[in-house]
């Protein structure tokens, strides 16, 4: 404990030193800094990942999650033209005069293309920072998501399926698997806070309503040091702050839910509230072939103290997110299900002497319960309370180099009651704490070279078996030619929590979380990634990536647990490797994207090697999006996955039925057919493919703007196999052709 305390203190002093010390030439004669924030011209919403570029100097920066940017070391005494651009906004040129030895503070405002609603609306604009160390990173904009076929309703997780390297195991589930990793190795963050059970209605939709989203960053691998606690991927969702200038609202309805949004100004700030409620469980007929009485809601609010015109003033926000899912049958012979997420978050951030400082205090809680009533379902209950305090500091020097560091203090209270596959009940109650942080250096001073080098340090872990550990990471981008970028990344990652997920369950309601037990070490992974980016023309971008991911100490549910003293989990090793390519042609009014991945994954448990169920070898997706003008847009998307692994049966036998032990004196008559199998997942399901089409129209009517969306899922009614019932041989297919319509009104 003393070591943890002293190391933490030393780190804080070090960061303070770095922040207070002037950075390089920042105060040198005739140089000045430009920093500020990019906002939406109407709502005042901070725009994340916008590019701010000074063509005369060929220098620029990208705004962070909160819309902040910093460009230091600019020759002073001159007024510069600054180009500010972002997908979904009209690119705009601003003027900024740089004063020597001073920070020039600016607020740039961009006009949304939605507001302008031009005759022909530009799909987007290519964003580029030449030496950006962004290997494995996908930035997904809501505008892009809106263009793609949405299915029943636009969904963040389903949209990820179009990204090469992201797999799914079926239409019914929004669960995703990234580069051979398990679904519980994906971290879902809302405003930096973990959402532990992010699925509604048996996984049909994510709990996060797209209406509340400002920006999304998705790391497939090689994620930087500021992210921790998962081995596979990071989905970082930043919420909107709300319209700081006018009150406005949205209402929408689909076959799945109705929802609403209200936002508006407050004295010195803004607020936003969203809410969504399931309307009908009829849609489950299409997904599962039976009407499942699910009932869900999610609510989100955020209140901000945010001066629109002053960059220096500290900003605060308080946000909350609450979701709940129920399956109540009113039948004592059927189990009831209930699971929920609750999150409260306070953040403080400030631009201070050219540095960003962010402090966050959050509480994230998830609970879940299966009440078997009088059914044969296995009882299950889980609760997890996560209280975290985070401090992040970023110092950007005049030569564009950055130093960034942060600390995380976390306490977790975890209760679990569940039944192992062979019937043994397992219970677990743990109170644990984590102390750790990260420190990194970002070399950005060279036009054609960017290096992000750092490490996480874990001083005290949730799993005390891990000891003090480091997670070194490096990401390098080198551009030998203006059109060609070469990228490479290496990183080590640690995960101390897992779920009791049974990968043979193609649909399960919720996955209980548990801290990795003390008889195992924390899971560790190493990511080796390489990539090339070719910007052939202004419109055409080609990318290719290869990766190798090794994981060890991955908890694998012990299917052979017979005794209470047997471990619930066995340590597994996993390896995945593959290559991915994408082609994106982005013209004035249309966008063509092609993504392909060739991937391999396997897992070894107690010397037995098997393919995980999401190990689909070839994946291809093609999407074409077209803007016809006058508010009309259309898109077509085709997805192809080669067959997923499954376990073939080699025979049946008469399994003795012990439901009624008192009739065991005729065991040969108390029997039913039961299958036996070859080694796990050696067979392959048929290939999956499907085409979805979307046509949408925006129009003004009265005081409101409407968006009506027509979608057809699986237009050629492909019979993709979901599963088949072993005893009857009955084939159950995934979604058939499914036309849907949704309506959204904005006022």
């Amino acid at each position: 404990m003393k070591i943890v305390y002293s190391t933490t203190l030393a780190f804080l002093w070090g960061m303070f030193f770095l922040l207070v010390l002037p950075g390089g030439a920042v105060h040198a004669q005739s140089l000045g800094n430009l920093n500020g924030i990019v906002r939406d011209s109407v709502s005042g919403e901070a725009i994340a990942f916008a590019t701010v570029y000074i063509p005369d100097l060929k220098r620029g920066a990208t705004t962070n999650d909160h819309g902040f940017f910093v460009i230091n070391g600019i020759p002073a005494g001159k007024e510069y033209s600054v180009r500010v651009a972002c997908v979904g906004y009209i690119t705009r040129m601003h003027k900024a005069k740089i004063t020597a030895n001073a920070d020039t503070k600016v607020v740039f405002r961009l006009v949304s293309t939605v507001i302008m609603m031009p005759k022909i609306e530009k799909i987007g604009e290519k964003q580029q920072e030449k030496n950006s160390t962004d290997l494995g990173l996908q930035r997904v904009s809501i505008k892009e998501m809106e263009m793609l076929p949405k299915g029943v309703e636009m969904d963040v997780f389903r949209s990820l399926r179009t990204i090469p390297g992201v797999q799914s195991t079926g239409d019914a589930s929004a669960k995703y698997y990234v580069r051979g990793g398990a679904s519980n190795q994906n971290l879902v963050l809302l405003d930096g806070v973990t959402i532990y059970n992010p699925f509604h209605a048996l996984g049909m939709a994510s709990v996060i309503d797209p209406e509340l989203i400002n920006s999304i960053e998705f790391y497939k691998s090689g994620f930087p040091t500021e992210y921790s606690s998962r081995l596979s991927s990071i989905l970082n969702i930043v919420s909107k702050k709300g319209n700081a200038n006018n009150f406005s609202g949205k209402a929408a309805a689909s076959f799945l839910s109705t929802k609403g949004l209200l936002e508006g100004p407050l004295p010195f700030g803004s607020f936003i509230m969203t809410g969504r409620k399931s309307t009908s469980s009829q849609i489950s007929n299409k997904f599962f072939g039976k009407n499942i009485p699910f009932d869900f809601y999610d609510y989100f609010f955020r209140v901000n103290y945010d001066n629109q015109n002053d960059v220096d003033i500290p900003r605060f926000s308080i946000s909350g997110f609450f979701s709940n899912d129920k399956l109540i049958n009113n039948d004592p012979y059927i189990a009831d299900f209930n699971w929920a997420n609750n999150m409260i978050n306070f953040t403080y951030h400030q631009l201070f002497m050219g540095s960003f400082i962010e402090v966050g205090v959050s509480s994230s809680n998830t609970t879940g319960e299966v009440k078997p009533n009088l059914s044969s379902a296995k009882p299950k209950s889980n609760s997890l309370n996560d209280l975290s305090i985070k401090v992040d500091m970023t110092r950007i020097y005049s030569n564009k180099n950055e130093i960034r560091g942060g600390l995380l203090f976390q306490t977790i209270k975890n209760d679990l009651y569940f039944t192992m596959p062979k019937g043994i009940v397992s219970t677990n109650t743990v109170n644990a704490g984590f102390t750790g942080g990260y420190l990194k250096f970002k070399l950005m001073q060279f036009e054609d070279l960017g290096i992000d080098l750092g490490s996480r340090f874990n001083l005290a872990g949730l799993n005390t078996n891990g000891g003090m550990t480091l997670e070194p990471r490096i990401s390098v981008t080198y551009r030998p030619h203006p059109l060609v970028g070469l990228k490479a990344a290496y990183g080590e990652y640690q995960q101390e929590m897992t779920t009791t997920a049974d990968e043979n369950e193609v649909v399960s309601l919720f996955e209980p979380w548990v801290i990795i037990p003390e008889y195992m070490k924390p899971s560790r992974a190493k990511h080796y990634t390489g990539g090339v980016e070719l910007n052939a023309t202004e419109e055409l971008t080609l990318t290719g990536e290869i990766y190798l991911i090794n994981q060890e100490n991955v908890p694998s549910l012990n299917f052979n647990k017979l005794l209470a003293s047997d471990p619930d989990f066995l340590p597994a090793t996993q390896e995945s490797y593959g290559l991915e390519g994408s082609v994106k042609y982005q013209a004035e009014t249309y966008l063509v994207s092609v993504g392909y991945s060739l991937s391999y994954a396997y897992k070894v448990v107690e010397g037995w090697r098997s393919y995980p169920r999401y190990d689909s070898r070839n994946n291809l997706n093609i999407s074409i999006e077209k803007n016809f003008g006058d508010g009309w847009t259309a898109s077509v998307m085709w997805l192809y996955n080669s067959g997923s692994p499954f376990t073939q049966m080699v025979g049946f036998y008469d399994k003795m039925d012990v439901q009624n032990l008192f009739q065991l004196w005729v065991p040969y008559e108390a029997a039913s057919s039961y299958g036996y199998f070859i080694d796990r997942n050696l067979g392959r399901l048929p290939d999956y493919h499907r085409m979805d089409v979307n046509v949408s129209k925006k129009f003004d009517f009265g005081f409101a703007r409407f968006l009506i969306d027509f979608n057809i899922l699986n237009v050629y009614n492909r019979k993709n196999l979901f599963y088949f019932e072993r005893q009857t041989g009955k084939r159950v297919n995934m979604l058939p052709i499914l036309p849907t319509v949704s309506l959204k009104a904005e006022f």
Binding site: P421, I424, L509, L563, F652, Y653, F662
Partner: protein, 319 residues
Amino acid sequence: MRQYLVLCLVVVMAFFLNSCKEGFEPNAPFQEKYVLNCILNANDSVQIMTITRGYPPNADGSATPTGDLGVKNALVRVWVDDSVYFFHDTITERSDGSHGGGKVSFYVCKYYRSSPGKAHVVEAILPGGKKLKSSFDMPQPVSITFDPAVTVPTLQSDNFFLSWETTDRNVYFYPRLILSYKYQQDTSWILKTKKLPVDYVSRNGQTEYFYAIPSANHTIKVSKNALGSAITDIAQADQDKTHYKILGMNLEVYTLDKYLANYYANTAMQGGDFTIRLDEVDFTNITGGLGVFAGYVHQTLFINLNTDFIWSLGFNKEK
């Protein structure tokens, strides 16, 4: 606009034509496996064992077992300490109509002696030389912690509890309550029994009873009203309850060894109505094959029912 529509139509049509069903083989080539099932009852001298063979799936992957799947002429022995019990094959007619009816083979031993707490080892050598082996420890009898002088249920309490103790770990208990009563037919009294519930619910005017199920719990909670309702049912339409005399209730506790407990838990408990599994998790403790070799101990304790409670139901109690 028109050219885009035509283009989309062509693409869609192309995929329509390409969406025919493809071949899919849910099964790998058949591999024969042998299955030994034997649940030894520590309280019975006659023990039954089945040794069967697996069978291939139908072309569509479904199962249709037909005929006698039993393996005959195996050398089957069970060792308990220095004792060896031989199981001999025999044959009988199926009474359940399954497997297309006909004969069914099984093995029987008629001179087994109860050996609680002892290790039991089975070895079956099949005619082709294949060996199936397994072992388990027969559970110890439990100690039922119920004072025979006490009667249940009292009129003041809605529920009562019945408990037992054991030193064995990893065992399951399957309790049940059996009512003993007499029914007067003409001039003679006939002894009858009835299985009693531990709880009940009323749905749509119908009463549904719930019975104790196997679990690791050492206690069962019995609802007085459920008990009363079930006892009342013995008279059914008979208005004259003087034709009935209540004797009392037996608490039967079946103590299952760890393998039978796990086998039960594995086969009887499902993931839930909304959980869809692709593979089934199977349980076996048979080396060289499938099935289960396990055992249980059966104990009974007579429990005196409260006279006031019986009278409150309109019945008489035999002393």
